[in-house]
Subunit: 195 residues, 2 copies
DNA sequence: CATTTAAGATTACATGTATCATCTAAATTA
DNA sequence: TAATTTAGATGATACATGTAATCTTAAATG
């Protein structure tokens, strides 16, 4: 069947990336094989190494692809006022039953963070970069680097992990509700820069 | 070499459990093979099925073993005043560089939570049970079921995950410090039961 | 139109996997 | 002490894994 045009190769490449980004989040990185990814992308595993150097390469690239996917909308917002508005919506979506039940399309850090932390090399690096990016988005207007964005990120990630760990929707809801309350406290009471 | 006395079998059993509890936390559940565990326990893989029905069985049992190990000290404290005191120490240890760097002996939920959430059956169940247990310990004196314990657990888990994801001790420290501040806010400002 | 190129399929490889049947020697028990 | 039991070792199974060489065919190039 090969060979295909440059444009079609790009499309294949993106299909692999999309499939990997979804499967890695849904089943985990270790639990997903290169063959699984290629099958989900509608190909056989043979062609894989025309697109990526190794599975490790795919992990880093697909993870970053997922981060872009989830985060770039909000980054386009230029004014800090516009962001503040969007941030509330983003947080509400993040702490929703829908997000808890759809890890496939959800926060890549929540789904793969633990696994990336255990890695060394490129996958670990992009994980750390993603953290910077997302914490910056969660940072409330005024002071950057106060740690409030980091705390918010930790709380969000922790909360969906708990919600996904529960055994009923009611319990998941209790976790999500607790997360919402806690995020509110961080926003309302985080100490001002003393300087 | 076999056969060994009943007492020695128990000791073997515990060695397997300890090894599994450590390796699962350090490398992850999927990334750890039954053979790895048995080798770390000083045995060959053949004897494994005299002790456990399956790897899934081991996962659930070893996870619970780790939870007991980490949590049972604090549960022995009877009075809620005694617990309150201990809780602060527990939280300080949890949000420490030492804990971030030693997942092997650290919080089982932080290390395996995401993976357990993806499981079905016994491993998922014990994960949910562990959450109940730990959230109860983090619950501040007064009102149970307010969700404050859940939020605290989410924050703690999220924070070490972030600390482990960073690429330098300084960044890890920033995450841990943010977590400490946030925990304080939860304790100080969590809304009283309206009733 | 002929030649070259390369995307993806096919196949192969060596290794790792969970599981289990069988073997062994020592502890139990009769 | 003799017979029985069984913990753990050995080895085999059947399959999944990451990687790579090779083949096929259509696109790109001349």
């Amino acid at each position: 069947m090969p060979r295909m045009s440059e444009a079609e190769k790009q499309r294949s490449h993106n299909r692999i990336l999309d499939a990997a980004a979804q499967l890695f989040r849904e089943r985990g990185v270790e639990a997903t094989s290169v063959a699984d990814v290629m099958k989900a992308a509608g190909m056989t595993h043979g062609g894989f190494y025309r697109h990526f150097e190794s599975k490790e390469d795919l992990i880093a690239t697909a993870f970053w692809h997922a981060v872009d996917d989830v985060v770039s909308d909000m980054e386009r917002e230029e004014t800090s006022e516009g962001r503040k508005k969007e941030r509330q919506g983003y947080i509400a979506k993040y702490l929703s039953q829908a997000h808890a039940q759809d890890s496939r399309n959800g926060c890549p850090l929540a789904a793969m963070g633990t696994e990336l932390a255990r890695t060394t090399g490129a996958p670990h690096q992009v994980g750390a970069q993603a953290l910077d990016r997302m914490a910056a988005l969660l940072q409330d207007t005024s002071e950057t680097g106060s740690g409030q964005g980091l705390a918010a990120m930790a709380l969000l990630m922790g909360t969906i992990t708990l919600a996904r760990l529960t055994e009923s929707e009611e319990e998941a809801d209790r976790a999500l509700e607790a997360g919402r309350t806690a995020i509110g406290l961080l926003q309302d009471y985080w100490p001002k820069e003393r300087s």
